[in-house]
């Protein structure tokens, strides 16, 4: 779906974008207060909204910061809420919905969202809960010069091919640790498991229940895939997340990496690296594993939500301003800042990896109320396996035990 969207995006751009509603900022004199994470795409959306509608609003504040998810539930709980909108992703929408802090947007979309694509609307049980504007996923970054030098043909597409290529690079004496992955203990360790577990066809929970379902053959296979790759990763990999792996890549110390698509633009630009690295970096789909066809990645979106505990007028003004900014003009101005889901987007080289991963059939990160508890249990309990202190089965049994304890406390299991 995403691929088709990207393919037709260019042609539709001129037709649709300009019909906009620019100027319709909803009821005047309202207070618009936006909270979001601090990265270029969100800067573009919130900045455009502010530029368009600041004059119409009584107050227009944009707060962009790191670790938004740590404060957003507390900020939206009081009435009136501290912010009228939080810009969220799959997992953080769940976190807000668990405490019933965001409102359904059906009527607002009808009034202000006629220019949106249907696939931008995040609906749960018929209620539109968020309006997505960009996509993201993990995928493979390769250095084609180093692969050639080591005698590897083409870009690896499976875990086995990556491991074989890494072995050739090591054997040729080019790099001792050619692979980079975000394996920092905690959230990242949990996420890496998700990638390979989904690629091996696993489901985190038993169908229709909160019972864990990871201590099985797919789980063991996922761990073995990760361990095979980690053999060739930097010895400090258990303390490396996106910033560290990007630095490894930009300093030319890795030849094969599984990193976020949103880092693609920063890797390919002319800052922080050398011509040799940037001109030889190829972005391609996340690898498949175990003979399957599903790429080892989770698909993510970022989108706009509206707080529940605010007046209807504030909600309307906030929605009109933010959704009004999701226009072809904004995309034209910030084309390379993100993989936009908005008409008018022309995918550049930085978008190639995410587009290939999405069209390869990667799974979206699950929006389930208890998935954060599972993610946390994975992040904490799998480390013993990566350190070699525990077998795959024991580590997975520990994850299930830790998850069950937490899910009982949170009321999801009895």
């Amino acid at each position: 779906m995403l691929l088709r969207k990207i393919a037709i995006a260019g042609t539709v751009a001129g037709l649709m974008g300009n019909t906009a509603f620019a100027g319709d900022c909803g009821p005047p004199g309202q207070s618009v207060r936006v909270l979001g994470s601090d990265f270029p795409a969100i800067q573009a959306v919130s900045g455009t909204a502010k530029a368009n509608c600041e004059a119409n609003a009584g107050e227009f504040t944009v707060t962009l910061r790191d670790n938004t998810r740590d404060i957003m539930n507390q900020a939206l709980t009081p009435n009136p809420a501290e912010y009228t909108s939080v810009i969220v992703a799959n997992s953080t929408l769940t976190q807000l919905m668990n405490d019933d802090l965001v409102r359904p947007l059906n009527d607002l979309v009808e009034k202000y969202g006629t220019h949106l694509n249907p696939n931008q609307l995040i609906t749960i049980g018929g209620d539109i809960m968020a309006v997505a504007f960009m996509a993201n996923s993990q995928h493979l970054f390769s250095r084609k010069d180093i692969l050639e030098q080591a005698g590897v043909e083409g870009i690896p597409a499976t875990v086995d091919e990556i491991v074989a290529a890494a072995e050739k690079i090591r054997a040729a004496g080019i790099m001792e640790h050619p692979i980079a992955m975000n394996m920092k203990v905690g959230w990242n360790v949990g996420e890496v498991f998700n990638l390979f577990y989904f690629a091996h066809g696993g489901e985190l929970f038993k169908p229709g229940s909160a019972e864990p379902n990871i201590n099985n053959a797919a789980g063991v296979a996922a761990l073995n895939s990760i361990k095979a790759l980690a053999e060739y990763a930097h010895p400090d990999h258990l303390s490396q997340a996106s910033n560290e792996t990007q630095a490894l890549w930009e300093s030319g110390k890795a030849a094969l990496a599984i990193m976020w698509g949103s880092r693609g633009g920063a890797v390919l630009d002319d800052e922080g690296s050398t011509e040799e690295v940037t001109s030889n970096t190829v972005l391609s789909a996340a690898p498949t594993a175990g003979g399957g066809s599903v790429p080892a990645a989770t698909l993510w979106w970022d989108g706009v939500t509206i707080a529940r505990n605010i007046s209807d007028e504030e909600a309307e003004a906030t929605f009109a301003a933010l959704v009004g900014a999701l226009s072809a003009e904004m995309v034209a101005e910030h084309n390379d800042d993100a993989i936009w889901l908005i008409d008018g987007f022309e995918p550049g080289p930085a978008a190639a990896g995410v587009a290939a991963t999405a069209s390869g059939g990667a799974r979206p990160y699950p929006m389930i109320p208890y998935v954060n508890l599972m993610h946390n249990a994975l992040g904490a309990e799998l480390v013993d396996f990566y350190k070699g202190a525990e077998s795959a089965e024991d580590a997975l049994a520990d994850v299930e035990a830790a998850y069950i304890t937490a899910a009982k406390e949170a009321g999801f299991l009895q």
Partner: protein, 365 residues
């Protein structure tokens, strides 16, 4: 710890004077009332509230299965029935009463898992492995090791530096004190972050070690043992100035007469150190030990800065994890760990407090 400098030494040093004894209970009550009410409000009540919270768990969540759609297609998913959950919450705002269930579950004291392990395992080694696999005990064992390694090292090294600097000529004494205090002036989070970058495989210390040992894949962060040592070295480095400056202040009060008398009696430097200086500083040693035990038992920042949670987790880190990493916080779990931490501090401080109390009484009468 800075706050500790102000609250600590008064108690062990104060002598019960006649005036104080004569102070009427009524006067004393009014005198202590502001402090007492602040302590009740800001220390006692929060602890009680955390304790109550740790006895409750969340309501049974009312889940509804529905279809969820987005940019990547539609799938069946579950969501929380907000209306039904809100109604439950209104009826019982604290949640479901769970008694000490949270304290004994797998995330904390893990009674069931331990008794299973006791029955199933053949050797002490196997039992120990099971114990180290349980998150609370893993955190407790690192916390205790850290406390019992760092505290004595800081005490001994702090005293040694204080004695050394005290002997320096006046001209370089000032600058030496300033330099020795520097590690304490750096915010723990920042200090440990700087060190974390230095010991990284690409950092100055990490890379130098790789060259010295001729081992390009040597990594301080990849081995549990080296990570523990690194954290403890950091702990010593960071808290040393506190014990140094306290002992240095104490050294200024050592009676010259007694020292000279000891020298005349033929005591060596080491002997006067052991029999004159250290006994004189004993109340300070108790005070510094108390502060260090408390501080070290809640070790937290270096674990975050060094990204060391894969190899070392402390009780404070475990609380942080429950509140932050689960998305929607696990208050009962964090509360239970907090209460167990307070209990741990009380057990640790017990001997030192009893000693201080005895000294105090024997001097007062």
């Amino acid at each position: 710890m800075a706050a500790g400098l102000f609250r600590g030494p008064a108690a062990p040093f104060a002598k019960q004077s006649n005036e104080a004894n004569a102070m009427k209970h009524r006067t004393f009550f009014w005198f202590i009332l502001p402090t007492l009410s602040a302590m009740v409000l800001f220390i006692a009540l929060p602890i009680v509230s955390v304790f109550i919270q740790s006895l409750f768990v969340q309501h049974e969540q009312v889940l509804v299965v529905s279809e969820s759609c987005g940019p990547f297609g539609c799938s069946e998913t579950t969501a929380i029935d907000a209306g039904a959950t809100a109604k439950l919450r209104e009826e019982q705002p604290l949640g479901r009463f769970n008694g000490f269930g949270t304290y004994t579950n797998r995330s904390h004291l893990a009674f069931a898992e331990l008794s299973d392990a006791w029955r199933m395992t053949e050797s002490w080694g196997a039992f120990w492995d099971t114990l180290m696999d349980l998150p609370f005990y893993k955190a407790l064992i690192f916390t205790l090791t850290y406390t019992f390694v760092v505290t004595p090292l800081v005490l001994v090294l702090g005293l040694a530096i204080a004695v050394g600097i005290n002997k320096l000529p006046t001209l370089i004494k000032g600058p030496s004190i300033f330099v020795s205090l520097l590690p304490f002036l750096v915010t723990p989070l920042v200090g440990s972050l700087i060190l974390a970058w230095m010991v990284d495989g690409d950092g100055i210390i990490g890379a130098t070690l790789q060259i010295i040992f001729d081992e390009p894949s040597l990594s301080l962060k990849a081995s549990a043992t080296l990570t523990w040592i690194m954290l403890m070295v950091y702990g010593v480095w960071h808290t040393l100035p506190f014990s140094f400056i306290t002992f240095y202040a104490g050294l200024q009060t050592v009676p010259k007469d007694t020292l000279e008398a000891a020298q005349i009696d033929g005591a060596s430097k080491w002997q006067s150190m052991r029999h004159v200086i250290v006994p004189h500083l004993m109340p300070l040693v108790s005070f510094v030990t108390l502060m260090l035990l408390m501080d070290n038992f809640r070790v937290f920042e270096p674990i975050i800065s060094f990204s060391a949670q894969g190899h070392a987790q402390s009780l404070s880190f475990y609380i942080f994890n429950d509140l932050r990493e689960s998305g929607n916080p696990l208050y009962a779990s964090a509360g239970a760990t907090s209460m167990l931490t307070i209990l741990g501090v009380m057990i640790l401080l017990g001997p030192v407090l009893v000693r201080t109390w005895r000294d105090f009484n024997s001097k007062g009468h």
